[in-house]
């Protein structure tokens, strides 16, 4: 049983290593330290987003609005720093608060009004994007579009400590915290319970609505952190930041073994999933494969990544339960 719980990750790590090895074989640059740095700094924000996404999915939901929250937080940071000249240590808490609030609003809409998470977050995805356009300092003060955010604190996540970027440390902190909460605390167990059987959880006195709001709040919080990392790298923010990133984050989470049926998965898988996406993008670029052939190969790798551990899982499951030959 212990095996069953842990196998998806093990297969994924194996797949990740094999993919990396293949790329290393074809490209000498891929196996350089510089490239490791690039992948770490380039995809840490995706890892954070994927962890954030994992929680709503664990609760049988989905958060499509993370891309828009990302843009909203980015734009708030931009406005605060460029237009209102706030210092970095003020901007950061505001950014985190905005992102978390946006997530909490998602959660409240879902629990209060009992609307499907998919359509709720699709609606807020549009709304937050619209809000981003509306508060865009780039539109309101056109000359600000060419100004860079030049603050030591806000630029921190583009810096390295040795070969590891600070954004990667941030990812590790989020990962450790999320994994700890999921595996060692009541909150985590309650999340799994709700994902596994919401009605049973409710009857056992678990505050289902509160936990759902927490999970979407956490997703928004992670989106805010990702936005901070991205703004740090770009030294600015744009209105179209994060378009389409929600699908990438969801894919990373699902590849990482988070079941869309809820209740199964951990925080580590999504991070590996996110870096797998990174390895694929960078690897295909470095092996010199034509830009139009890249999406084809990306798709094949994605299917392969989920196929293998699913196959193992099904084999195990059919062994364990009776008459499951279907």
């Amino acid at each position: 049983m212990w095996l069953l719980k842990n196998i998806p990750n093990r297969e994924l790590i194996l797949f990740f290593v094999i993919t990396s090895l293949i790329f290393s074989l074809f490209s000498s640059t891929f196996r350089s330290a510089g490239n490791v740095e690039n992948i770490l700094i380039g995809f840490s924000h995706l890892g954070i987003l994927a962890i954030g996404q994992a929680l709503p999915i664990l609760m049988r939901g989905i958060d499509l609005s993370v891309g828009s929250i990302l843009a909203l937080v980015g734009m708030v940071m931009f406005d605060c720093y460029i237009i209102f000249h706030m210092p970095g240590y003020v901007v950061l808490p505001i950014a985190i608060a905005v992102g978390t609030m946006a997530g909490v609003i998602n959660g409240i809409l879902i629990t209060r009004f009992r609307i499907q998470p998919f359509i709720t977050t699709l609606a807020t995805m549009a709304a937050y994007r619209g809000l981003t356009y509306a508060i865009s300092g780039r539109q309101l003060v056109p000359e600000s579009a060419t100004q860079a955010i030049d603050d030591n604190l806000l630029g921190l996540f583009d810096e390295f400590s040795g070969i590891f970027p600070y954004s990667f440390f941030l990812l590790l902190i989020v990962l450790a915290a999320a994994q700890y909460i999921l595996s060692r605390t009541r909150i985590g167990l309650d999340l799994y319970s709700i994902g596994g059987n919401p009605e049973a959880a409710r009857l056992c006195g678990i505050k289902v609505d509160k936990m759902i709001i927490i999970s979407y709040g956490f997703s928004g919080f992670c989106a805010a952190l990702a936005a901070i990392v991205m703004v740090s790298r770009m030294t600015t923010s744009t209105e179209n930041l994060g378009i389409g990133i929600e699908l990438t984050a969801i894919t990373a989470a699902v590849i990482g073994g988070i079941s869309l049926q809820g209740g199964i998965g951990n925080a580590i898988g999504p991070v590996i999933g996110a870096f797998l996406m990174g390895v694929i993008l960078v690897g295909l670029t470095l092996t010199g494969i034509s830009t139009y052939a890249q999406p084809v190969i990306t798709g094949v790798i994605l299917i392969a990544a989920v196929s293998y551990d699913r196959y193992k899982y099904y084999k195990l499951r059919s062994k364990n339960s009776a008459g499951e030959s279907a």
Binding site: M1, W2, L4, K5, R184, T185, R186, I187, L189, D190, Y192, S193, G195, G196, N197, E199, A200, A201, R202, L203, C204, G205, I206, K207, G263, I264, R317, N320, S321, A322, G323, S325, A326
Partner: protein, 503 residues
């Protein structure tokens, strides 16, 4: 004894339908009160109000004289009202340990889990009630019976003042039921009030002190169980005529096995890890009951014959010709029907209506070029609904809103549409009330008399003795023997089943 729980004037309405009307109930400490009623009489509604799953339109619930907030599970749990649910209320992907303490895990500071304490408490609990459960097993990998035990352990772990038990013995074997009874008596001795719901009259008389009878949402009787005879009890809640039919169940004429009429013959069926070298035959117009303990792999054997489980070696003959158990589709083509054990998981489309469920296996016959002929559908469906006495008799009613008995009837009706030559029924009366049960028995017998060969898999000895022509006992995947029902006593069968289990 003091009054522990008091429900006063509870009324629950769904739209214009009154599910529970002005119902009052009292429970003393150390009392085992049975709650009896046909499916749909309002038992579930009452239980749901007591567990806080739903709110009542009217009325209140007092525990030790203190009124409780209705519609809030947490209040009820904290007040000390626990429940063993009829349907699984477990989280499939979590371990047994976590399920037992669902929502109440002991914590250290910062909501950290106290695993040590949790495990120690759980082990103590299992020991105390002599339950044998692997605490680290993932619930979804356990068979239904073990899940039921987890459910029981979960309720016991509450140390509740009031324990509601909604059909706790469904799926449990004889020994396990006895075990549970011991538990109930222990709890009773320690002053716990218990509300016990079951369709098994034997159990009620064995364990309960008092009885509350519900009918159409009203409480029609509230007295000590010893004041009523079985017949009276039945009459009170299902009506006189049905009650007479139900008691008649036990007087049943067995049929002789006629070797010339054999339609299905299984020779040396084996599957590694499941069953080994099983041979039997089945004649037209005969009921073969297969019984045994849980884990005797009866269900797997049935799935194999039906084609939804594979076979390592052995041969199956249907009407003299060798038959390949390729797939359920193939079985259906050969007019073999199969009513699976778990109707929620394997049998019904819960969100679909009665009509679609009834026609699930016979759609192709009614449809021409894939287009459904509505007139034929209506004819067949209304005929079937009438024949099976499915209520409500509305073909568009969603199945999940039906009572357990009616769901089971729909499931059986679906196979009747096939006019099966062989019909396999796996635990056909689990979770079904007495009235519906007797209707199902009548139906099975009628089918037999029409010449259908029937296999009934059952753990319920009363049921086996009541309807079988021949009985096959299985144990750990092996055939213990086939006996003529007329010439063997219930005690003997139990001995075969239990005696072998120990070896």
């Amino acid at each position: 004894m003091t009054i522990l729980l008091s429900a006063r004037n509870l009324t629950k309405k769904y739209g214009s339908l009154t599910a529970l009307n002005n119902a009052s109930l009292e429970l003393r400490a150390g009392e085992v009160r049975s709650l009896v009623g046909a499916n749909g009489a309002g038992k579930s509604t009452l239980i749901k109000i007591l567990t806080g799953a739903i709110d009542a339109n009217q009325g209140k619930v007092l525990l030790d004289g203190v009124p409780l907030k209705l519609g809030d599970p947490t209040t009820m749990l904290e007040a000390g009202i626990g429940c063993i649910y009829q349907h699984s209320n477990l989280v499939p992907a979590l371990s047994v340990l976590d399920n037992i303490y669902l929502g109440r895990q002991p914590v250290l500071s910062f909501s950290r889990l106290d695993r040590k304490k949790q495990r120690a408490e759980a082990e103590e609990l299992l020991l105390k009630y002599s339950l044998k459960l692997d605490l680290d097993a993932i619930v979804s990998t356990l068979p239904t019976v073990r899940q039921k035990e987890v459910e029981i352990a979960k309720a016991l772990a509450l140390n509740a003042k009031v324990l509601l038990m909604d059909e706790p013995t469904a799926w449990l074997s004889h020994t396990e039921v006895n075990n549970l009874f011991t538990t109930v008596r222990n709890l009773q001795a320690s002053g716990v009030g218990i509300i016990y719901i079951s369709h098994m009259l034997d159990e009620l008389y064995a364990i309960c002190d008092s009885v509350t009878i519900l009918r159409d949402g009203n409480i029609v009787e509230d007295c000590a169980i010893s004041d009523l005879t079985r017949q009276e009890l039945l009459e009170k809640f299902i009506g006189k005529t049905l009650a007479q039919a139900a008691t008649k169940t036990n007087q049943h004429a067995q049929k002789e096995h006629v070797p010339e009429d054999v339609i299905l013959r299984c020779e040396n069926l084996s599957k590694k890890g499941e069953f080994d070298d099983i041979s039997f035959d089945l004649a037209k117009g005969e009921i073969l009951c297969i019984t045994g303990l849980i884990g005797s792999k009866r269900t797997e054997l049935m799935h194999t014959i039906f084609g939804s489980n594979s076979l390592d070696s052995g041969r199956i003959f249907l009407e003299g010709a060798e038959y390949e158990n390729r797939s359920p589709a193939n079985a259906i083509k050969h007019q073999i029907g199969f009513v699976p054990e778990d109707r929620h998981r394997d049998g019904l489309m819960m969100q679909a209506n009665i009509q679609d469920n009834l026609l699930m296996v016979s759609h192709d016959k009614i449809a021409k070029f894939g287009i459904v002929n509505q007139i034929k559908v209506d004819q067949r469906v209304s005929k079937q609904i009438k024949q099976l006495n499915i209520t409500p008799a509305d073909p568009n009613k969603i199945v999940s809103k039906l009572s357990g008995g009616n769901q089971q009837k729909v499931l059986i009706g679906k196979w009747l549409e096939l006019h099966p030559k062989v019909l396999i029924l796996d635990e056909p009366t689990v979770g079904v009330d007495v009235g519906a049960k007797s209707e199902i028995y009548t139906l099975i017998r009628k089918l037999r008399d029409q010449g259908t060969a029937i296999i009934v898999v059952s753990s319920d000895m009363e049921e086996v003795m009541g309807i079988a022509d021949r009985i096959m006992v299985m144990c750990s995947g092996k055939k213990q023997g086939i006996y003529n029902a007329a010439s063997i006593s219930q005690q003997k069968i139990i001995a075969y089943v239990g005696g072998e289990a120990q070896s």
